[in-house]
């Protein structure tokens, strides 16, 4: 095994380790929704995923997620909140508010139509 081989192999292993760290082990920061007029509201940008993708809210209060798709890719053109049977079409650059009532504490997922973009609501 020559120097090139060693460099290629080590690089390959480093890339694998980096994929695991960057895509799986990365801890996403949670953002807490702000309460206005008795409704907890938060803006969610859809661009290669949801920003923020982890949202803390209080249970027992209505939550309004203002989705805004800021990309042409059709991947994020639909958002689903399966626990509440909600699906919305997100036209590009339009604000689409979705309101739900989180009765019980727990984690509720929202995803894109193909289940590739994922976000969660953490009701406390």
């Amino acid at each position: 095994m020559n120097a090139t081989d060693i460099i290629v192999n080590v690089s390959g292993l480093v890339i694998i380790a980096w994929i695991v760290w960057y895509f799986w082990l990365w801890q996403r920061e949670s953002v807490t929704a702000q309460t206005n007029d008795g409704i907890q509201a938060i803006d969610v940008i859809v661009k290669g995923g949801y920003q923020p993708s982890s949202i803390r809210v209080k249970s027992g209060q209505r939550v309004r997620l203002n989705f805004m798709r800021r990309e042409a890719s059709t991947c994020g053109e639909e958002v689903l909140i399966p626990d509440f049977g909600k699906r919305a079409y997100l036209p590009e650059n339009l604000n689409v508010p979705i309101e739900i009532m989180l009765e019980k504490p727990g984690e509720y997922e929202f995803t894109c139509g193909m289940n590739m973009y994922r976000g969660k609501l953490i009701a406390e």
């Binding site: 192999n9 290669g48 508010p97």
Partner: protein, 782 residues
């Protein structure tokens, strides 16, 4: 100045109904006057009238977003408003139309991108072929580097335009620590192009024999995947066709009578309390109650049953159903999002968007999928680089690119939701409303169905069945006397006799006197004769011996009928029997269920004898009789436990128990059952306790619900199996697993084509469900 409405109006802020004469205030905006229920609502409105102004006129707005963007969209793809206010807009198809328009535009753009990539792809493929044919290769040896640079320049616009969405998407994802299909396509085609460009620009960097160029791979893979996405877009549009069809059934305008004048207004502007005029052949605008006139109405839009129903004053009519014969007026009772059709659409949408348990495994897999494929691609590269034959670097590049582009997370992600969407929509077309994916999955695995007797198997109201008289009276004479005697009674059995006489064309006068004897029957003077109609106790009380009818009475009771004795002037005269008869289609439906391998059980509060008689007629062997309403849930639980232990002992079979009953009285039993089927009629939809609502009220709905559930689940399984197998087999083949045995290597071009085909296959398979038709019950019961 135009007022928002003429009588009652809707507070545009909170959605409450407001009477203008008692409103807390009003505001004028754009020549329209709006009334408010409270000063707070008025204040809110005044600060931003544009956010609320068109709500009450039915064009509703979503709640305003805060600080995120300049424009608002309603929440739902089908036009359901995001507003939580009570004053929802009509389920207008505006948003659906705008989506269709944007999808059509996107389709055209994609096809243009595909066309461009395909033309360049073919050109570059020809250039690359020059490299492959030895004689041409030698002749063009000195042009080798130039050909490479030309190919790099030609293909760059393909990546930059036709494939731009993959690279932008991949970058956006990357910044979010996310991956998706874009990541794989961008990595695969990007790696192929970069490597090839490097080879073209600086061939000296590479060992002899490894300087291959893969420009053709990069552009043709992009062309194929763009084509695949365009076709998928088309097919996906069709999968939501059922709900579109429902929406299109709405009436567009209504003719209302206001202040004595007939005016045509958009259906959105009809308010509760309006008098609406409907002529033959017109659609009914909203839900209401007939005031004047009679007609036959085709309610198949909500009930799935195409036989028109006769309606008279006092009967309810359902919005979007078709008036066939007569003209009538009705009072609007439910408008906008409260109408039966709107609630059906909402329920169907919710079900389509839920997730059946079978889809949960897929969630876990898809969240790990893309990074796993990236890791497999790196491992593939290293394996070929270290152990592959010469030129190892070329093999390593080709196989790595093939792995990246063959993997298809979309097929997995689409498999469940797309079938669910088609299946639930299809069921709704037949008047079967399935609440969610879980209900659908459980319904497909039912082992036992418990049918409530009254109103489910039977019509739920007693009807006259037999008239047996002594030779002294004809049957019609006896019935005439009994019907007149019963005419003033409100007892259901008496009503059945009166109705039966009417149906037989018997004209009834008023009795000369009438006396109801609770728990016994009635006593009346008819044509100067003393007529007694009642049970055995009445005859015993009056010392009338009915020995001649004992055998008949016993036989009638065995048939599940209620015999009523008739005596005239203290002499026995005959027997009239009344029974809650079974619905015309119950027998066939029960047989169809049994043929599907489902055990059918009847549950009722009636006595054993009546219950057995009805069960015999319906073809049901197992009967749970004399069960009080509050005990029904307990009986369901017992059946579930019994099924569970049966399965535990033999390790196979299905355990789920379904219950069919009316949504109100049987609510606890419906909730206890694994799947509760509520039999509704007409406008009575979206029953809370039920997992499945049968709008049409026929037991056929249960058969259909189970058939479509089984069909949909089968379709989901096929999709999941296809998507799993595709990836599980495709990825190793792309990595070169067949090379050691057969010397076979998959071209990344084929891999890209396979990837494009896999999602189209899933969507197409789901769309097959659209042509799903239930087995005709006659055939099933043959």
């Amino acid at each position: 100045m135009e007022t928002a409405t003429l009588s009652k109006t809707i507070d545009p802020v909170c959605g409450m109904e407001v009477d203008p004469t008692t409103a807390a205030g009003y505001s004028d905006y754009e020549d329209v006057r709006y009334y408010f229920c409270s000063p707070a609502c008025k204040q809110k409105f005044d600060t931003a009238p544009q956010n609320y102004a068109d709500v009450s006129s039915g064009h509703g707005r979503g709640s305003t977003g805060e600080g995120i963007g300049s424009r608002n969209a309603v929440e739902n793809v089908f036009g359901r408003s995001a507003s939580h206010h009570g004053s929802g807009p009509q389920i207008g198809p505006d948003v659906a139309e705008s989506r269709q328009a944007s999808q059509a535009m996107e389709y055209r753009t994609m096809m243009r991108k595909f066309g461009f990539a395909a033309v360049i792809g073919v050109l570059v493929l020809l250039l690359m072929l020059v490299e492959l044919i030895p004689s041409l290769r030698e002749a063009t040896m000195q042009w080798h580097q130039t050909i490479g640079i030309v190919a790099a320049i030609l293909t760059f616009p393909v990546l930059a335009w036709s494939g731009s969405q993959f690279f932008v998407g991949a970058w956006n994802n990357f910044r979010n620590h996310n991956t998706n299909m874009d990541t794989l396509v961008a990595l695969g085609t990007g790696a192929a192009w970069l490597y090839s460009t490097l080879v073209a620009v600086a061939p000296g960097l590479f060992p002899a024999g490894t300087a291959g160029m893969y420009f053709d791979v990069a552009v043709i893979v992009i062309a194929l995947i763009v084509l695949g996405q365009a076709l998928e877009l088309r097919a996906k549009g069709r999968s939501s066709a059922a709900i579109q069809k429902l929406l299109e059934l709405q009436a567009k305008t209504a003719r209302v009578i206001r202040q004595g004048k007939e005016i045509d207004i958009p259906v959105e502007e009809v308010i509760v309390g309006d008098t609406v005029l409907v002529r033959p052949g017109e659609k009914i605008a909203v839900d209401g109650v007939i005031l004047e006139g009679e007609s036959a109405i085709d309610e198949s839009v909500v009930t799935g049953e195409s036989v028109p129903v006769d309606k008279k004053p006092g009967d309810t009519v359902i919005g979007a159903s078709m008036n066939k014969t007569g003209a009538f007026t009705f009072r609007a009772m439910r408008v906008g999002k409260d109408t039966a059709l709107a609630r059906i659409v909402e329920m169907v949408q919710q079900a389509q968007n839920s997730k059946p348990p079978i889809g949960r495994l897929v969630d876990v897999i898809s969240s790990y999928f893309v990074p796993s494929v990236m890791i497999v691609a790196v491992i593939t590269f290293l394996a070929w680089f270290n152990f592959g034959p010469a030129p190892a670097l070329n093999f390593a590049i080709v196989t790595m690119v093939a792995v990246l582009v063959i993997a298809c997370p979309c097929a997995l992600g689409l498999a469940t939701p797309i079938s669910l969407m088609v299946g639930v929509g299809k069921a709704a077309e037949h008047g079967v409303l399935i609440r969610n994916g879980e209900a659908l999955e459980t319904a497909s695995r039912l082992a036992t169905i418990v049918l409530d007797k009254t109103g489910t198997i039977t019509k739920g109201r007693p009807e006259l069945t037999d008239v047996l008289s002594l030779p002294t009276f004809s049957a019609n004479e006896l019935l005439n006397l009994a019907a007149i005697a019963d005419k003033r009674s409100e007892h259901p059995l008496a009503l059945a006799i009166v109705q039966g006489a009417r149906t037989r064309g018997i004209k009834m006068e008023e009795p000369e006197s009438f006396n109801a004897i609770p728990g016994h029957g009635v006593e009346a003077m008819v044509d100067k004769k003393r007529v007694l109609v009642g049970n055995r106790k009445l005859m015993q009380r009056e010392n009338i011996v009915m020995a001649a009818f004992e055998a008949d009475a016993s036989r009638l009771a065995d048939e599940g009928k209620t015999p009523m004795f008739v005596a005239v002037d203290n002499q026995p005269a005959g027997i009239i029997a009344v029974a809650d008869t079974i619905k015309d289609d119950s027998v066939k439906a029960v047989r169809a269920l049994q043929r599907m391998g489902i055990e059918v059980v009847m549950i009722t509060g009636d006595n054993e004898r009546t219950a057995q008689a009805i069960a015999r007629q319906a073809g049901i062997e197992r009967v749970l009789a004399e069960v009080l309403p509050e005990e029904k849930a307990h009986e369901i639980k017992n059946l579930q436990v019994a099924r569970g232990s049966e399965q535990a002992s033999n390790g196979r079979g299905m355990t789920f128990v379904g219950m069919v009953g009316d949504g109100i009285n049987d609510a606890p039993a419906l909730a206890q059952a694994d799947v509760g089927f509520a039999i509704g009629t007409g406008a009575d939809v979206a029953i809370e306790a039920a997992d499945v609502t049968l709008v049409g009220g026929s037991l056929h709905g249960v058969v259909y619900a189970i058939e479509i559930s089984r069909g949909t689940l089968r379709n989901i399984k096929q999709n999941l199996f296809g998507a799993f197998i595709y990836n599980v087999v495709g990825i190793p083949i792309a990595a070169g697993a067949l090379y050691p045995l057969f010397g076979m290597l998959l071209s990344p071009i084929i891999a890209g084509a396979a990837m494009a085909a896999s999602s189209i296959t899933v969507v197409t398979n789901a769309n097959r469900l659209r042509s799903f038709e239930p087995q005709p019950v006659e055939k099933a019961s043959a």
